[in-house]
C-alpha cells in the first residue's frame, strides 16, 4: 500500500538514488521556474513526456500519474481561470502538473530503502551541526513502518465504535484513536530501547 515504486530494470531504475534525485530535482525546479506562457507550457509538457519516454517508462505510466493528480488539475485550473487570463492559467496548471509527474519518477523507479540510504548519505554534511544522519534515517524508517499500523488501528477503532452504535465523533473516535496511538508509541519506544537504540 505504502509505496509508489514500480519494479523495473531500466537504466533509471538502476541509477544510484542520490544522483538520480538531484538530477530530477534540477529538472523539476527548471520546469517550475518557467514563465506563464503558451510556449513554456508546451516546453513543460514536452519535458515531462521526454522524461517518461527516454528511460522507457512509457506514456501509459505518465497517463496513470496524470489521472492520479486530476483533482489538482481541476482545482488549480478552476481557481486560476477566475483570476488570470487563459494563457497564464493553462501554463501555470501545465507547469505544476509537469513538475509533479517528473518528480514522481524518483519514487516510481527507486525503492524507499535506497532513498533512505541516499538521504542519510546526503545528510552527512550536517553532522558538524550535531545532526546524526543515522538517527534521522531511523526516525524516518520508523515513521514509514508506523503508517500502515496506525491506519489499521484507525479502522479497528472505527469498527468497535460502530459495533457499539456510536457515531463518528471526537469522543468516540479521535480520543480512543489517539490513546491507542500513543500507547503504540510507548511500546515502540521500548522495542527500540531493547534493540539497542539509546
Amino acid at each position: 500500500m505504502l509505496t509508489l515504486y514500480r519494479p523495473g530494470t531500466g537504466w533509471l531504475h538502476r541509477a544510484p538514488a542520490g544522483p538520480k534525485a538531484l538530477a530530477l530535482l534540477v529538472i523539476v525546479l527548471a520546469v517550475s521556474l518557467m514563465p506563464s506562457t503558451w510556449l513554456a507550457a508546451a516546453v513543460g509538457a514536452g519535458v515531462a513526456v521526454a522524461c517518461y519516454l527516454v528511460p522507457r517508462i512509457g506514456l501509459a505510466e505518465l497517463g496513470r500519474q496524470i489521472v492520479a493528480v486530476r483533482w489538482i488539475i481541476v482545482v488549480t485550473f478552476g481557481f486560476q481561470v477566475i483570476f488570470l487570463p487563459l494563457e497564464s492559467a493553462t501554463a501555470n496548471t501545465v507547469r505544476v502538473v509537469a513538475a509533479i509527474v517528473i518528480a514522481a519518477l524518483l519514487v516510481l523507479t527507486t525503492r524507499v530503502g535506497d532513498l533512505l540510504d541516499a538521504f542519510e548519505l546526503g545528510l552527512g554534511g550536517f553532522r558538524r551541526f550535531g545532526l546524526d544522519p543515522a538517527r534521522v534515517a531511523l526516525v524516518l524508517a520508523v515513521a514509514i513502518t508506523t503508517v500502515p499500523v496506525l491506519a489499521r488501528i484507525a479502522v479497528g477503532v472505527r469498527e468497535s465504535q460502530r459495533a457499539r452504535g456510536a457515531r463518528a465523533g471526537i469522543r468516540s473516535f479521535v480520543i480512543p484513536f489517539l490513546v491507542v496511538s500513543l500507547k503504540h508509541a510507548d511500546d515502540l519506544g521500548d522495542a527500540l530501547t531493547a534493540r539497542g537504540v539509546a
Partner: protein, 204 residues
C-alpha cells in the same frame, strides 16, 4: 545503511542528546498519525463533509509533543512526503508538492506545530483551556496561513489578496479542527496523562 563505521564523536549539546528512543517513537508516531489523517475516508467530522484532517495532526503534534518534538514530527512527515510516499491528502507526495501551490502551507505546518507547542506548554506544567485554545489558534491557523498564503501567491503568480480570499474557504474547517484539538488535548490530560509529560517516566 546502518552498518557504516562512524568515527566516535562527542555528543553534541544540540537536539540530538535530548532525543531518546521514546522521543523517536513519538515523533515517528505523530508523523504517521498526520499521514493517516490524510487517508481517504480516514476521518469525517460532520457527517460526510470531506475536510482534510491533516492539519489536525499538525495541531495535535504541537499540543501533545511540545514545540521541538512537534515540529520535528512535522519535519519527519514532510521528509516522508519528499521521499515520495503518497501521504498528503488525496494520495499526493514526492518532491513536486514542495514546488506546488501548497508548499508554503507544508512549511507552515512545521513552524505552526512549534508555535502551538510553545504556547500550549509555555512555562507552567499544567495545561489550561485558555492557553491551549490560544496556542492552537495562533500556531495551528494564524502561523500556517501566514506562511502558506504568500508562498501560494508566489507559485501561482497571483496577487496576495485573491490568494488569501481563496484560502479562506478552508478557514471554517480549520476552526473546527482547532476546537477538536483543544477538546482532545484537554481530555488527554485525564485519559492518558503520560502523553503530555515532557519526559515520560518508567512504565508499569
Amino acid at each position: 545503511m546502518t552498518d557504516q563505521v562512524t568515527t566516535p564523536r562527542p555528543a553534541p549539546a544540540g537536539i540530538r542528546s535530548r532525543i531518546d528512543a521514546t522521543d523517536i517513537a513519538r515523533i515517528a508516531v505523530f508523523a504517521a498519525l498526520t499521514a493517516v489523517l490524510g487517508l481517504p475516508g480516514g476521518f469525517a467530522v460532520f457527517g460526510s463533509v470531506p475536510i482534510t484532517a491533516q492539519t489536525l495532526g499538525v495541531m495535535l503534534a504541537g499540543a501533545v509533543l511540545g514545540a521541538w518534538r512537534g515540529a520535528l514530527a512535522m519535519l519527519v512527515f514532510l521528509a516522508l512526503v519528499a521521499l515520495g510516499l503518497p501521504l498528503l491528502a488525496g494520495g499526493h507526495g514526492g518532491l513536486a508538492v514542495f514546488v506546488g501551490p501548497t508548499a508554503g502551507y507544508l512549511l507552515g505546518w512545521v513552524v505552526g506545530a512549534f508555535v502551538v507547542g510553545a504556547i500550549v506548554h509555555a512555562g507552567g506544567r499544567r495545561l489550561t483551556w485558555l492557553r491551549t485554545s490560544v496556542g492552537v489558534l495562533v500556531g495551528g491557523i494564524l502561523i500556517v496561513y501566514a506562511v502558506g498564503v504568500p508562498v501560494s501567491a508566489l507559485v501561482l503568480r497571483l496577487p496576495l489578496g485573491p490568494t488569501a480570499l481563496g484560502s479562506a474557504v478552508f478557514l471554517p474547517g480549520d476552526l473546527i479542527k482547532a476546537a477538536i484539538t483543544v477538546v482532545v488535548t484537554m481530555t488527554l490530560v485525564r485519559a492518558y496523562p503520560r502523553a503530555l509529560r515532557a519526559r515520560p517516566s518508567v512504565r508499569a
